[in-house]
């Protein structure tokens, strides 16, 4: 056996993307420079044209182009009976069909057979539930069908909803902030909607006649502090802030002192989005969590992980790694107002007992709802136009 074959035995993904790129980037740049030189001569002539004239010309061109494009498209579609066009067609149909939910699938079957199970399996995977969790659910379903001697496909949906509801019915979904001071630490990867969620959360808690304070500990992303301040204004809640690039731990520390001094009921801490595989940033989060435990021992603690419903299997990894540095007490699933089903939380809950506490269904201040497992399970298979 040669050496390289031995190397193959090492597994796992991740590739080295850094190599070459530098070189090729430079190559690309020099190419572009050449192009640019060629361009610049044409450019000089064209610059003399006046803006309006140009626009008119462009408009004319555009209409011509549109016609051409339409023709091209026709040609293309007849030409390509291959893999791609089939795929595209298949997918557009998918959007209309599968999103219609499982109801249609169920209606088209008169008896429960392998094919039906496969269709259900497909629908579950399309909802981002993942292969493992899907197989687990399907096994449970088959067992129940046998046990209860069910033969009507329509009954299957009810069973499936039950099965999934059961998986999602984990722990205490209420926020643990009812008595005494409380701290809510909001964490997650970039762009999942942490700051927006905090705005809505502040609103919900304030409506409950509690005194809320926000800590702007995302000192990294450009204008994140301003974004939180705007939410502070909207909800009428004070924000403790430092300068951009300040130490987030220091912001949290100050916010805790302020919360104590002002006798705040609930302190909500925003943090910078961080990818869970970034060691340093995760250590920073561990430190933030430590500061909260040390400086505010009397406060009840909630650590809420925000997940984007559009995220696929990687969300599992997110939960696992964030859990290593903080005690996650709940999950908030955002962006459920799109077409993504957010089925990944089923995979998460079939492995870990972390309750889903809220869902985000829009950008408005009222768009945060308590999570209801049964409704969620039903929505997975709901009809949508």
């Amino acid at each position: 056996m040669s050496l390289f074959n031995k190397w193959f035995n090492k597994d796992k993904d991740k590739l080295n993307q850094e190599e070459l790129t530098q070189e090729e980037l430079m190559q690309e740049e020099s190419n572009v420079e050449q192009e640019e030189q060629e361009e610049s001569e044409e450019v000089k002539e064209l610059l003399e044209l006046e803006f309006e004239e140009q626009e008119q010309v462009e408009e004319q061109e555009e209409t011509e182009e549109v016609e051409e494009v339409v023709e091209e498209e026709k040609a293309l579609s007849s030409e390509k009976n291959g893999f791609f066009s089939k795929l595209v067609k298949g997918l557009t149909k998918t959007r209309n069909n599968i999103m219609d939910g499982i109801d249609n699938v169920l209606k088209s079957f008169t008896k429960i057979d392998e094919e039906l199970y496969e269709e259900l399996e497909e629908a579950l995977i399309m909802a981002d539930i993942g292969v493992d969790a899907t197989l687990k659910i399907m096994d449970g379903l088959r067992e129940k069908v046998k046990e209860k001697k069910i033969t009507d496909p329509a009954e299957l949906k009810k069973l499936l909803v039950e099965e999934i509801t059961e998986i999602l019915n984990k722990g205490n979904r209420e926020l643990n902030i009812s008595e005494g001071p409380a701290v809510i630490l909001v964490i997650g990867v970039n762009g999942v909607g942490k700051t927006t969620t905090i705005g809505k959360l502040a609103h919900v808690i304030k409506k409950d006649n509690k005194k809320v304070l926000l800590a702007a500990a995302d000192t990294f992303r450009a204008a994140a502090i301003e974004q939180l301040e705007i939410w502070g204004n909207r909800t009428g809640v004070d924000v403790i802030r430092h300068q951009e690039n300040a130490d987030p731990g220091a912001v949290i520390f100050d916010a805790i002192q302020a919360a104590k001094a002002r006798k705040t009921d609930v302190l909500i801490c925003d943090t910078a989005g961080r990818l869970h595989n970034k060691k340093n940033l995760m250590e920073e989060l561990r430190k933030i969590f430590k500061i909260i435990s040390r400086e505010y021992p009397e406060a009840r603690k909630e650590v809420l992980l925000v997940l984007d419903a559009t995220t696929g299997q990687n969300a599992l990894q997110q939960v696992k790694l964030f859990k290593e540095v903080t005690d996650i007490s709940g999950i908030i699933l955002t962006k459920l107002d799109g077409t993504a089903k957010g089925g990944i939380i089923i995979a998460i809950n079939s492995e870990m007992d972390i309750p889903i506490k809220y869902i985000g269904v829009g950008e408005g201040i009222e768009d945060l709802r308590p999570f209801n497992p049964k409704e969620f399970a039903e929505a997975l298979f709901a009809d949508e136009e």
Binding site: S2, N16, Q54, T94, I125, A223, A224, G312, Q317
Partner: protein, 444 residues
């Protein structure tokens, strides 16, 4: 990571097929099941996976198996080739308009990374010697304009904004006039994140497109996106006719199957990938590397190819025998080293190995120069010394050091490491009978 690598699983499947010269349909089906699972685990859309698998099956059944490869690797090879083809076999670059300003429109869902990407793009275009202008058309999200302004000031690119009280369509229109008046040759329009099913906001994008006639509309997609990626990409493409895709947050540990889904439904190229929050972390997209990443197997293919080109199978077998018999000496070591060197720079090779990544490599830091030194030292030994290292005494060591131009310590270290390696091999060959033991070369 939670998943076993695909190549491992396939090797398992094909273990019992060793010696077969041809793959039957059943063999292929079993292997393709693993491929299918790998793709689904990587978040490639179910429908895309299904069509893809069918395509592979056609190619793989009855395919001759290369002698030097195991059938498992052969299937991986076919899968990877098809994947790469599906991803677009060539790199696709940003195009520039012949009549400046060249206008780019950044569109996408909320939180996909449009603003950060806009900043990175502006920085790169500026480096090309152009004069870009960033345009803040996100009037909805709180502090979005401020965010672009901060990003703009970091890369020293001006930002055109009219506050959040204006219509984005008007802002875009005014920005283009502003660009022309101020001789900006590139305009990058940062639009608000929106859901693909939000008709009102999608119409707004369409209006902007109609008015500014962008050279390219770039859809920014989060690499972690799941099954829904097809819906998002198809909707944006149907409504606007996108020209390219930017895949962001690829510095995470997602396998990024969304890339494949998006490509399959839109057939538009992925032009850039975002690999970090720093402004220089925007890089060109390499279809083949993405294919390997989705499969979770590193760039094994290039490695196989390189190995095939340069590795002499017979010599390797001889070496294996020698190792087993504990006859491995400096001669063999030198030969092994030269064979590996033929395959290319070590760093590059290491990067292709699944499970290796740059972070780990950072600690290892293989120095090509060091390799050359090792080679020089060995070459300064007599044949006798190479075959029988035990005879190397102090005076011989001094001669070797002088001959190779290295320190005496270095010569000592190499000999010591070589002895350790031999010892390790002994343990391994004794321990794992029949199993291939892993051993380390002193320079790794």
């Amino acid at each position: 990571m939670a998943f076993e690598s695909l190549s491992d699983k396939l090797q398992e499947v094909f273990k019992k097929l060793k010696g077969k010269g041809r793959l039957t349909e059943k063999d292929v089906n079993e292997a393709l099941r693993e491929v299918k699972l790998a793709l689904l685990e990587a978040d490639v859309n179910f429908k895309v996976v299904k069509s893809f698998i069918n395509k592979i099956k056609e190619r793989a059944v009855g395919h001759d198996v290369l002698e030097s490869l195991t059938p498992g690797q052969q299937v991986i090879k076919i899968v990877n080739e098809e994947l790469t083809e599906l991803m677009g076999s060539t790199q696709s670059k940003l195009t520039f308009s012949t009549t400046p300003p060249t206008i780019y429109m950044m569109v996408g869902l909320q939180g996909s990374g449009k603003t950060t990407t806009s900043g990175k793009l502006a920085a790169q275009i500026k480096k090309m010697g152009k004069k870009p202008l960033l345009v803040a058309c996100d009037v909805y999200r709180p502090a979005a304009i401020k965010q672009l302004q901060v990003v703009g000031s970091r890369v020293d690119v001006p930002v055109f904004s009219m506050g959040d009280a204006n219509n984005p369509v008007d802002i875009a229109k005014a920005a283009v006039v502003h660009a022309k008046n101020n001789k900006h040759d590139v305009v990058i329009i940062d639009t608000a994140g929106r859901l693909h099913i939000d008709e009102e906001l999608m119409n707004e994008l369409y209006e902007i497109k109609e008015i500014v006639k962008p050279q390219e509309i770039l859809l920014v997609v989060d690499a972690m996106t799941g099954q829904d990626a097809v819906n998002v990409a198809a909707s944006f493409n149907e409504k606007l006719g996108i020209d390219g895709v930017v895949l962001t947050k690829l510095d995470g540990d997602t396998r990024g199957g969304a890339a494949l889904s998006v490509r399959a439904v839109t057939q538009k190229p992925i032009k850039y990938v975002g690999l970090g929050e720093k402004l220089e972390d925007l890089q060109p997209f390499y279809p083949d590397r993405m294919a390997s990443r989705i499969l979770g197997m590193g760039d094994v293919l290039s490695l196989i190819e390189k190995a095939q080109e340069s590795f002499d199978e017979k010599k390797a077998q001889e070496l294996e025998k020698k190792i087993r018999k504990m006859e491995f000496d400096f001669e063999d070591f030198l030969e092994q080293m030269q064979q590996i060197k033929k395959m290319g720079p070590i760093n590059q090779l290491l990067g292709m190995i699944p499970g290796m990544n740059m972070q780990k490599l950072g600690d290892v830091e293989v120095n090509e120069k060091e390799l050359a030194h090792v080679e020089a030292i060995i070459q300064s030994m007599t044949i006798e010394e190479r075959r029988n290292p035990d005879i190397i005494n102090a005076s011989r060591k001094r001669r070797i050091a002088a001959g190779s131009g290295r320190d005496l310590q270095e010569v000592n270290r190499l000999i010591k490491q070589f002895e350790q390696m031999k010892k390790m091999m002994k343990q391994l060959t004794g321990m794992a009978k029949g199993k291939k033991g892993k051993f380390k070369l002193p320079f790794m």
